[in-house]
Symmetry: C2
Subunit: 199 residues, 2 copies
């Protein structure tokens, strides 16, 4: 049975980004380039190979519009995502949006598809594309909260940086409502705790 | 060197209690008797003996007024705390309050002292009472946030239940501001993750 997974890097205060995300500060006010949250990925990658591999192991991905672009409103068609010409997904990525756009094929097997039918339609298309592989909800927190509220995530993998951001932002679990999960595992290094939960 | 420790049971959304704590619902609206947060302590104690022992290992404790009593305003002198005649502290406990009250000796070595001089005065008295043992900040979250904001906690031990409470309440780290800690360890069982952080 394929499952829906979700990886998210968060702070101790439950934030993955601040407000006012833009090209200059993709993680928003007070979080900037996200270095405090993601140092484990970039500075200590060798210590976290299994967790890093798992993040992009799915057969298809779903992400929110604002994870794909800092823009709002109609598409700037010159924008091809944050990840350069060979994004790390190497699989179809379904981007939730209110604005239609043609599919955007990138190098390395990633194609961004733009879905205007909402969460369940994006998930349906992602499941179909993934075949017998998992579907991953790639973020951001607003999108993840929508999936959590609809009980659509089987395995939630949080990467908790030992920092308090102390800024305004979208908090994981905001608006999700009472839920009871099960802890699968936790693994700590000085710079991150990998916490795996299941529905 | 003695240190200041702090243990707190929280939900995935960072809450240790809801609003409107009272005798009928000591953990407040939507959290009631706190069973979702504290099942690991009561139903699975044998799996968590080291963590449970550490919670009450200090030589003195500091707690907020509302952890000692659900009341507000002047003291109801008939109130002797939540813990019966032999509280689990077995050491002096310094209760932060705006209302003076004589010390309250209990069985088993616990004496509640009521401190009107604020956080730093309570900590000073607790350090003196603890001698060469640690001082523990026992809660609640508002008091812990005051200590965190003043950088007074050396070791923060979070016991994260795999539940989203999804209620209004005091959130750990609210108002503390940006902080960078270090992860010491994490240990998970299905019902809780013990996460240890240091300043």
């Amino acid at each position: 049975m394929t499952q829906v997974t979700c990886d998210l890097g968060i702070s101790l205060d439950g934030l993955s980004a601040g407000v006012n995300q833009s090209l200059d500060q993709p993680f928003g006010d007070g979080v900037g380039d996200g270095e405090q949250l993601h140092a484990w990925m970039f500075e200590h990658a060798a210590d976290h190979q299994a967790e890093l591999a798992a993040i992009t192991a799915a057969g298809a991905f779903v992400m929110g519009r604002h994870m794909f672009t800092p823009g709002r409103g109609a598409w700037d068609l010159a924008w091809r995502g944050w990840w350069g010409e060979d994004p790390p997904y190497h699989a179809p990525v379904f981007v939730l949006t209110h604005h239609e756009r043609e599919p955007l094929p990138m190098s390395g097997g990633t194609t961004f598809h733009f879905v205007t039918g909402g969460v369940s339609e994006a998930l349906r298309q992602a499941r179909e594309a993934a075949g017998d592989r998992d579907v991953a909800v790639a973020g951001g927190a607003t999108t993840i909260n929508q999936f959590l509220a609809a009980d659509l995530i089987d395995e939630l993998r949080l990467h908790v940086a030992p920092v308090v951001l102390g800024v305004e932002g979208v908090r994981l679990f905001d608006g999700v409502g009472p839920r009871r999960l099960r802890t699968v595992s936790a693994r700590a290094t000085p710079e991150v705790t990998h916490l795996v939960l299941r529905r």
